[in-house]
Symmetry: D2
């Protein structure tokens, strides 16, 4: 996993006086779009995270490659970024290792600039060779939410569903789960079987009443795994099945 | 309030086959950045919402002005947008009215293209003349979260805090609250006094353990109100006060 | 006319060492695109010029409005811009006045930052109330150049035609002429009659052998004039006429 | 060399009616910026060309890699691009081969969409293994042009100098020369010695009175060659020498 943190961003946003909010929103969005392009161009996945702290998966991308991303940001934006690459037993452990590369180099608010490094989570001696992506969306989101209730209500419900999902998958499986727009969430997970994903959607339905379906894919890169997951989700939409993935058909 | 919805976006993302996720992430982010620029250039505020359903405040912007935004999107992107403008007793009621302009014209997944219109919420006979913006952030977010815990944990906690806040302000005051990056959330609210915002931050602290501070501003436009709110939040940071706004100093 | 100059850009591109060329190309292009959006959103026209020195028409846009453009650039890019607004007898005289606002404030390579001002060309006591735009393109550019000869040859010929046109219109009429992509050039001119534009295209044909056609429009803004010019050019394409404009039909 | 052509762009710009000029300008600029990022991320160079026909150098980039660029454009813009990759004795011959891949597949105005292919110029049996880049700029452009004369005059003179240079280098050496902003031009050339570049700058000075200096670099990629050329140009600026390159010091 990859952690991308804007250097000293908070202070910058208010120096010499608070900057216009829409300019900050636009800056963050475009910076993320460029990170997404960079990582996506190498078959990884990128997520907006908190915008000043972005998240990516970059299996099979060398750490040094990210110098080019740092160079590009420096040459295009009024801010710079620090980047940590981490490996671990689970995506969350890997992201934690990635984040510690950055936080060990200095505070998010301070003089640290353009740190780049990688780290293996303590005690982990494996190597990441396969990525698992679970792509979730809300069953009939358009009919249940977008066309039916106020934008505020639709957003609160769907965001609530994604947060419940993210907490569950983090605690149970060490997954990293991100809202990716509309009614979609993507989780980077360890290998999960059909029962595990069903338990996750059951949990969300029980806790916050949001009905999710999920496609799961595995592959050598996030793009490969995610593309398979998207096709699996299409299968759900076509068949009414609530989960589809690279498990034996007998499990469906 | 303004609702901006990408027309028939879900089907587009999977036709003729699922499009690359990072391309979709980048498209959504850039589209939002352009909406932010457009609205911000007219002293409004824009929020990413669910990305396919964006949110803005546009007091004193004529509905027809948004034809230019629709033209710009049509000329720049492979998608188009429908836009509703709404007025109401509260921001949530106004956004609901705005959303109904769009949903009444057709489904989010279908042939509807580039609807534009405005609507006053039923029973409302006032006129919006002042915007109130409450700008929240997490007390010592860098020390408590960003520098201290894993990126996953930090994000889940902060997102949880914002969701708790958004639900509370929606239910109690009809506010529209959005995460705006880092540890920041912005609520467009009716006029709120010191006690009301303190009750909100108390609620979030009690419910999810996230400690917020808030600056409140009022003005003729979202930018004017939001800029005052940002300065008020700076006052909180400098003084250790947990809320500052346009109320009598005796209330601080 | 408006002159937009990137402050101290040359030194920035080589400090601390020469920056990657494609990053500079991308930066310049996006900065221009944002200037085009800003000016276009107010019904003006913008041209790339030399990229570090851009050109616009902004009839009926107040000088102070450009503070917002300077703010946006400062909040989005690693560079800042100075802006001059000029008025004069001809577009070239107006642009000259605009440029002198900037150059009088300091060198393009130095400490000057974010100058903004306006100036009326010496001796001019009129007021700009109508814009004239002449939109040129190459007759059958696709058949003669794009589909027929090498990209290098096509570009050299068309660029040669535009340069010849720009020099002629500058010397004869004080026009400002810009290449705008493909086989198109746009000239902001004083009012020109049919004979004047025919003389211009005759000159280019004689000097460099490039065969141009032209639509002319007049209006209160560059967009209004330019849109009329585009429709006039469509009339040329449909009828085989080599010039069409707001002159008496008897002149066609 | 690489030729990138927007498919059926001319008709799109006027369908169903002429699109707003500033939107087209912004679209073209952003599309080029994305092409520059894509090619630059792989150590190539990209040039705006005529904007609807862009130019790149892509030594050591596989043809199939450009499918990813086509995918990205398709997913981000309302237009698509065709791409040809060519190899030949000279850059101009290579670009000609690249262009013919596209033009052989159909007209620039018609149904052709997203052609991709490569071609070796007839009679060429070598392999491109080294790129030569000559980076030119105008001696004291700021003092002579930007700070001293009107923006119109400065641009016409510098554009005239670049056009003269491009014609000369094309005819004499089969080079591809592009204006890259400010007072800079970059030529992709066969190996040139000191006398050859001096003859080129002499030609421009004699023909149009513009005084150029030049840094030359060679390398396995355009970026490597171009970066060396930029450093060589810095040497010119520091020493007053008018040309510097990878030739024996005795030749300086």
């Amino acid at each position: 996993m990859v952690a991308v943190q804007v250097d000293d961003y908070g202070p910058w946003t208010t120096t010499p006086r608070p900057r216009r909010e829409t300019d900050l929103q636009a800056l963050q969005a475009r910076l993320f779009a460029d990170v997404a392009d960079f990582v996506g161009g190498r078959d990884g996945y990128a997520f907006a995270g908190r915008f000043d702290n972005m998240v990516g998966t970059a299996t099979r991308i060398e750490t040094d490659t990210f110098e080019r991303l740092q160079e590009r940001v420096r040459n295009r934006y009024p801010v710079t970024v620090s980047i940590g690459v981490g490996t671990g037993e689970t995506p969350a452990a890997a992201l934690d290792a990635a984040g510690s590369v950055i936080s060990d180099a200095g505070s998010a608010q301070g003089d640290r600039r353009e740190t780049l490094g990688d780290r293996v989570a303590e005690g982990f001696d494996g190597a990441p060779d396969t990525v698992t992506v679970a792509h979730f969306d809300v069953v009939d989101a358009t009919g249940t939410y977008t066309d039916a209730v106020s934008p505020t209500r639709a957003e609160l419900d769907i965001r609530g569903g994604v947060l419940s999902l993210a907490e569950y998958l983090h605690d149970e499986h060490g997954a990293v789960t991100q809202f990716v727009g509309g009614d979609n969430a993507i989780a980077v997970t360890p290998a999960l079987d059909r029962a595990a994903v069903a338990a996750a959607t059951d949990h969300v339905r029980a806790e916050v009443g949001v009905d999710l379906q999920v496609g799961v894919g595995r592959g050598p890169t996030a793009h490969a795994a995610g593309d398979e997951a998207k096709h699996a989700l299409e299968t759900c939409r076509e068949t009414g099945r609530r989960a589809h993935g690279p498990w034996a058909a007998a499990d469906d």
